[in-house]
Amino acid sequence: MDASPSQSPSGADHAIRVEGVSFAYDADADLILEGVSLNVRAGERLGILGPNGGGKSTLLKILLGSLKPTAGSVSVLGQSPVSARRSGVIGYLPQRVSAELRFPLRVEDVVLQPAAVRTAPWRRIGDADRAHAARCLEMVGAAALRSTRIGALSGGQLQRVLIARAIAAKPRVLLLDEPTVGIDVEGQKRFGEMLDAVRTEMNLTVVVVSHELATIAATSDRVACLRRTLHFHDAPHGLTPEVLSEVFRHDLAIFQASGAKGEACCGHDHDHEDGAGGGS
C-alpha cells in the first residue's frame, strides 16, 4: 500500500504539506528520506511509525525547519517551516528531555515561559497569560504540581509539564518525538486520552512520531509508516488497535524482507537516525 493519502483537492485545510522530500546529510551519503510526500489535515492526529534509523526524527527536524530538505518542498500552515517556527505556531517536544532540570524553577515558571518571552522586558506577565498557563497545566492533569520544583518531578510528570509548556505557546501544530518512551501500555493509553483532550480544546493538529505501536495506536487517527520512504495506511473508520497491529505486522515483514539488520518497530529507546548510516 504505497499510496498518497486521501485528501481534499483544494488543500486549503492542510496544516502540513510535504512534497517529494528527500534528505541526506552529505551529497554522497545515503538518503535518509526519499521522495516523502505527506499532507496533514488541520485538526488531524497523524502517527508516524517506523523503526529506529528510519528517518522519523529527521522528518520532524525538517518540519521544524532545523534541517533543510535536499529535494522537495515543505510548508507548515502555508509558511516555510523556519518562519512558521519563528512565528510560534509549531509546538515541539523533543525525543529526549533536553531541559536543564537543575534549574531552580517551579512548574508554574516553566509553563509561563512562552508568555514571558513575548512580554516586553519592562512589563509584568499579564493575568490572561497566567490564567492560560494554569489552564494548560489543568489540561495535562498537572494542576496540582504548579509549585513543585522542576527537578523534583517524575519522568511522566515532567513530560506532562513540558507538553503544557509547549501548548501554552498557543501553537496550531504540535510535533511530538517519541513521547511515551518508558511509559507502560496503560500509561500510553491515558497519555493518548490526555493528548486528544488537549487537541480538541486547543484545536491542534498533532503529529506523533514513534517506534512503538501502542503509542501510535493511542494517539493517532491515521498512520504512516516511515523507513526512508513513507507508506500511508488510512483507516477511515478510526484506527483500532486490531487494524494497527495488522499494519504493524505488514511493515515488520517489509522491514525484514528488505534486510533491516534485525531492527523492528519495537525495541530500543534510542533513535540514531541522525547518523549517515540510517535508512539504507
Binding site: L105, R106, P171
Partner: protein, 287 residues
C-alpha cells in the same frame, strides 16, 4: 588592622579605593551571570576567554609600548576586551568543528603563548626607552592587583557593570527560556544563536573586568564559584542570583581584607574566601 588604615588614611585612601570599588563592582557584575554560566556549563569557555585575554594584554602592551605609551590604562582595557570577545567568538566557531574542549584548549594555549612573548617584548621596549613606562608586573597580570586600578578604570568598571546588569535584566526572559531548554527555545520564538552570542559577550566583559582584580588565571572563579553557592542556597532563580551576589560581595570584601592584612595578591585570597563561602553555602543549603 591595615585594612582600616589603608581605606581611611588620606595618604593611602586614594591609592586603594579605586581598586576596592572596582573589586566590589566586579562582584556585582559577575554574580548575576554566574548561575547561568554554571547551568549552561560555560565555565570552561570563561576559562578560555580569560586566558585568551592574556594574548590581548600582551598585544595591547606591545603596541602601546611601540607607540611610546607605557603602563596600563583605559585604551589597553578596551583592546583586551575586543580581543577577549573575538577569542570567545573564535572558540564558538572552532567548537563546531573540533568540539568545545579542544577548541578552548587550542585558543587558550595559543593566546597565552603569544601573550607572554608580546609581554616580554613590551617589557624590553620599556627597559630600553626610559620615556616608556614599565608594564605591570607579570604577577599582577596573572593574579591580579588592587593598586593597578586607576580611578578611571574603576569608573569604567562601574559603567560596564551598569550596562551588563541592564542587559541581563532586559533579556532575562528569553535567556531563562533558552537556558532552561535550548532545543525548544526556537519554537517559543527565541533566537538561540542571538541569546548565546549575547551571553558570550557578557561573559567576555565580565572576565576582562575581573582580570584587573583576580588576574588572568583566577578571573573565571568569579563566574563559577558564586553561582554554585547561589544555586545550592536559592530556592528559585531569583533566590539563586541573590545568594550568588551575596557570596560574591562577601568573598571580595573578605578576600581584600586578607590581601591587605598579609600583603598578598588579591586573586588567590578572593578565590579562597569564595570557595570557603561556597562550601559553607552547600552545607547550609543541604541541611
Amino acid at each position: 588592622m591595615k585594612t582600616i588604615e589603608y581605606l581611611t588614611d588620606p595618604a593611602y585612601a586614594s591609592l586603594f579605593w579605586p581598586g576596592v570599588a572596582a573589586a566590589l563592582l566586579v562582584a556585582l557584575l559577575c554574580a548575576p551571570l554566574s548561575p547561568f554560566v554554571v547551568l549552561k556549563k560555560m565555565a570552561f569557555i570563561g576559562q578560555g576567554v580569560s586566558h585568551a585575554a592574556f594574548g590581548g594584554v600582551g598585544l595591547a602592551l606591545y603596541v602601546a609600548a611601540l607607540a611610546g605609551v607605557g603602563g596600563w590604562g583605559g585604551a589597553h582595557q578596551i583592546a583586551v576586551l575586543a580581543f577577549a570577545a573575538l577569542a570567545g567568538l573564535g572558540i564558538s566557531v572552532l567548537s563546531k568543528r573540533q568540539g568545545t574542549d579542544t577548541a578552548i584548549g587550542i585558543v587558550l594555549a595559543v593566546c597565552m603563548a603569544v601573550g607572554f612573548e608580546l609581554y616580554r617584548l613590551a617589557a624590553g621596549v620599556a627597559a630600553r626607552d626610559p620615556a616608556v613606562g614599565a608594564p605591570p608586573g607579570i604577577e599582577d597580570v596573572l593574579f591580579g592587583s588592587v593598586l593597578n586600578v586607576t580611578p578611571g578604570a574603576a569608573v569604567a568598571t562601574g559603567l560596564a557593570a551598569a550596562i551588563e546588569l541592564g542587559g541581563l535584566w532586559w533579556i532575562r526572559r528569553p535567556l531563562t527560556a533558552w537556558a532552561f531548554d535550548e532545543q525548544t527555545a526556537g519554537s517559543l520564538g527565541v533566537s538561540g544563536g542571538r541569546v548565546r552570542a549575547l551571553l558570550l559577550l557578557m561573559l567576555s566583559v565580565a572576565v576582562v573586568a575581573t582580570m584587573q582584580i583576580a588576574g588572568v588565571v583566577l578571573a573565571t572563579a568569579m563566574l563559577i564559584v558564586p553561582g554554585v553557592a547561589g544555586l545550592s542556597m536559592g530556592r528559585s532563580l531569583r533566590g539563586a542570583i541573590g545568594w550568588s551576589v551575596v557570596s560574591a560581595v562577601l568573598g571580595v570584601a573578605f578576600g581584600l581584607v586578607v590581601t591587605f592584612e598579609f600583603g598578598v595578591q588579591p586573586g588567590p585570597s578572593v578565590v579562597l574566601v569564595l570557595v570557603a563561602l561556597m562550601v559553607a553555602g552547600r552545607l547550609v543549603g543541604r541541611g
